[in-house]
């Protein structure tokens, strides 16, 4: 018997993982949630059939979303995380003792429950006393805060489905408002490679550039996402991701990471020419 999970990365490209068994399947009010067990990637979570994370490569994504801004901002105390019901972002954040409060806003309670049960590798720190989970639409939550957070991490799904509102100008604008003056926003920024993803990536970038004076994009290699080449956004009205990197301070924390280090931090912002061109296409200013 061979059982395979397949996801179409484009109309003509398919990505498949052999499945040992299906651990969970449910339809929530927002989406279909599945958890599978595989030999190659361990357990993995899909939403509406789209790959969210695998046990084998989730560390890349979560480390890059968290440690990049944490190595730049000198004093992160209050963090807002939007999406991220799997808990991976939370796990990385709770390693920092300086953080006092983490608000996790996830629209779908069933995602959190499924991950608590089947993906303890990522959900393991959701009960940290600093974490408050709000089951709410992220767009709605962030609208009600002003000058409140040091860091906002937007761990959204793709811009088709429940995550749609997290790719809009009104959302990024509201994030800008909810951040303190020197706050940083980091977001999942889609992929530059396939046309449909690249369009979503350009749109998101355009919307962020309109709301923040500093908006830079960085990359990582994530094998189970379409094309494997994935981007993240770094936006702030104060800090530049490279000029304001505090490499020595960060190293002093002696955190254990498998992907992130401060040399890679600098390198991650060096983008291929075609990606730069896609970004410049929607910017009014040149990248420096």
């Amino acid at each position: 018997m061979e059982l395979w999970f397949s996801e179409k990365h484009t109309e003509g490209v398919k990505f498949s993982i052999q499945v040992d068994q299906q651990l969970y399947s449910a339809q929530s009010p927002f989406q279909r949630i599945d958890v599978f067990e595989s030999v190659e990637f361990g357990r993995f979570l899909t939403l509406d059939g789209y790959m969210m994370l695998t046990e084998k490569d989730e560390f890349i994504y979560h480390e890059m979303m968290v440690h990049v801004p944490m190595a730049v901002h000198p004093d992160v105390r209050r963090v807002l995380v939007i999406g991220a019901g799997d808990g991976g972002i939370i796990r990385e954040l709770t390693a920092y003792s300086s953080i006092e409060q983490i608000d996790l806003v996830e629209i779908d309670q069933m995602v959190v429950e499924a991950c608590r049960e089947f993906l303890p590798q990522t959900a393991c720190r959701l009960d940290d006393p600093r974490v408050t989970i709000h089951y709410q639409d992220g767009l709605k939550f962030v609208r009600h805060y002003e000058n409140d957070y040091d860091l906002i991490i937007v761990d959204s799904t793709d811009p088709f489905g429940p995550g749609e509102g997290l790719f809009t100008r009104e959302f990024y604008g509201n994030c800008c408002k909810a951040l303190k003056e020197d706050g940083i926003m980091v977001n999942q920024h889609e992929s530059p490679f396939y046309d449909v993803d690249a369009l979503a990536m350009q749109r998101a970038h355009k919307r962020i550039v309109e709301s923040f004076s500093i908006s830079r994009v960085y990359q990582a290699h994530i094998p189970t996402y379409p094309s494997g080449h994935w981007l993240f956004g770094f936006a702030s009205n104060r800090y530049h991701p490279i000029r304001d990197l505090r490499a020595r301070d960060w190293k002093k924390l002696e955190l254990t990471t498998r992907y992130y280090n401060t040399n890679l931090h600098r390198g991650a912002f060096a983008l291929p020419n075609y990606v730069q061109a896609l970004l410049e296409d929607v910017e009014h200013v040149e990248l420096d």
Binding site: K140, R143, G165, R169, E170, E210
Partner: protein
Amino acid sequence: MAGGDQRRAPIVEALQTVNRQRIVPFDVPGHKHGRGSPELTRLLGESCMRLDMNSMKPLDNLCHPVSVIREAEQLTAEAFGAAAAFLMVNGTTSAVQAMIMSVTKSGDRIILPRNVHRSVINTLVLNGAVPVYINPGSNERLGIALGMSLDDVRRAITANPEAKAILINNPTYYGICSNLQAIVELAHAHQMRVLVDEAHGAHFAFSPNLPLSAMAAGADLSAVSMHKSGGSLTQSSLLLCGPAINPQHVRQIINLTQTTSGSYLLLASLDMSRRNLALHGNEIFDKVTDMADYARDEINQIGDYYAYGRELVNGDAVFDFDPTKLAVNTLGAGLAGSEVYNLIRDEYDIQIEFGDLGNILAYLSIGDRIQDLERLVSALSELRRRYRRNRADLPTFDYISPQVVATPQEAFYSEKTALPLQEAAGRISTEFVMAYPPGIPILAPGEAITRDIINLIQYSREKGCFLTGTEDPQVGSINVI
């Protein structure tokens, strides 16, 4: 009337049967199930093209319905609480025309609120009836026209006892309702027919939590835009008749101007949306009301905006309010409604129904999702953060009672000359001058042009109103008799 089975959709069922029979088409339309227009078929889809059929024995005939269209019309009448109903394929404009032409003829008087849709006055150009206008009154703070006050109606009826009919806009675009039931009683006591432009109220008949529908209030005729809140295709509409109206006469009037090639796509959409409203309307509109109420609360929490609702109700010119309408006054944020309308589309990819000088209207329906409302609310919040200015008060627009010197028909068909606006005092206009806002005609064909009116047009222009109606797009000159 015996209750029909509202789960049925006779026209749709007949179309599906004919479609399954794979009949060889040697009739129109010439695209022959789409095969003759392959590009159009790719664009619209094969099922759409296959259902685009012409009248034939199993599909009945819209001009003289005897089978499936007749059944669909009966089901529609029952669903809306009407004595008879007509499926309309030439827009609600055609329903308004048929309604007026069914009860008035050349020289007859008809009482109208001044903010009627222009299709009403255009109908008077067609049939020669004489308008008697009532000032609808307005809410000065919001800058919107209201419903008809019962006292104003009484005065108009007393002054024009020979009038044949009275027409009411109910609800207005903004959701304002008049005291329909009292107006109906008053008008009927004076042997006048009551016509209701119910273009924005297709949902009223389907929920006890909504304002009274025209038929429930005892009105004689009502024009209902099914394609607005009812869910059917654009241009499809309904004309409803009360028990005192002879439907055969109305049918004859409709056939004066209606196409003889009624679109079955439009008819099928009317049939299906009637079924949907009859079966699920109550829960659908409760849900839409909940969404609108939620959005109102959230928008009012942002600050400076005013999303108004039932609190406007005052027992008279605002007798009731349609809670599915989401209208927002934007002046508190120092923004014109038209500015918000443009910014929210250009910068936030959100298309709303309209923006006037002081308000925007977001049209809510069963097709909406709560996450889209979150976007709307968040975008309004962002617009306030980014563009807020000191509050600018609305200019106030005086209502000038029109002097109807000639009927719209006489004026429209008379020999005319164009005069610069400033030199037109004392003449009779042959065309409209409309100013948005407030969306009430300043002049209609057949009305005297006075110095006051010229000044009002100038003032409206200076205040940034959008002026339309004249042949001259700038409204610098005007055609007069």
